[in-house]
Amino acid sequence: MRSAVVLFPGSNRDHDMVKALYDVTGFRPTVVWHQDATLPDVDLIVLPGGFSYGDYLRCGAIAARSPAMLDVARKAKAGVRVLGVCNGFQILTEAGLLPGALMRNAHLRFVCKEVKLEVTNDDTDFTRAYRKGQVIRCPVAHHDGNYFADPETLARLEGDGRVAFRYAEGTNPNGSINDIAGILNEAGNVLGMMPHPENLIEALHGGLDGRGLFESVVRTIAA
């Protein structure tokens, strides 16, 4: 599976993501500088975590207007799979590729800890290696992960099964509405999520629960 990771000034989990993709897929992803106006043709584009542009103005706002993101939007429309994790999720909402917004955590503090995620929908390109209802472990590390959408948007997300992951067992770390941890676009080829599956993929991390996400995409592409 060919993949690309877009690098913005201030990205800092690009490295983790590259490692995870290589580890799970066996192919080293291409790293694309945010000023590049064209991305290579790949099966998966990833917007990694971090603090693009220092999280200044609004998280993800400045990165969302970079040249590379115009091409990401074009390719997403053409059906290429796009994954945004943490800051990547924020960038996707700022770019209008996903609805809603990520607000400051309810307790206003940065939070880094392990949470539980319920796989709400296992019939997506990003989750088919899991089972619906399965509860997985996954770390979070963010300051602005409090997902918000207006009632109509929310109803649509829920009604269409576009909530991919939910914080489970009382572990919602940020006050996110409906315990939402990750959502899909209407076509199902763009996923944004706050937790970091790339940080739970090898024995050193103390668990492998994050691998399923990448394996799902591999399986989808292969099919």
């Binding site: 207007r65 700022e94 209008g96 917004a101 607000m103 955590n105 409090n146 207006d150 006050g175 509405i177």
Partner: protein
């Protein structure tokens, strides 16, 4: 030309910071607070000297970057 952009959250949009400020003020013993909402300002120094053109340029900046119009409103004050 100095221009001030004031960006506020739309009504109905969750405002964790406003809520926390409200709670903290209560915690400090301030009574009679019926609500707090936070927002931001961006003060711009522009080479433009015509107020109308300055306003138009800033409106475009707001639409393109400064405000997230899904959740935010903006106001532009040309301060001169």
């Amino acid at each position: 030309m100095q221009v001030r952009v004031t960006i506020t959250l739309k009504a109905g949009v969750l405002d964790p910071q406003g809520k926390a400020i409200e709670g903290a003020l209560r915690g400090l013993g301030f009574a009679g607070i019926d609500g707090a909402r936070q927002g931001k300002i961006v003060d711009l120094a522009l080479a433009e000297t015509d107020p109308a053109r300055a306003r138009a340029a800033v409106a475009e900046m707001c639409e393109k970057l400064l405000a997230n119009t899904v959740i935010e409103n903006y106001d532009i004050d040309v301060l001169g």
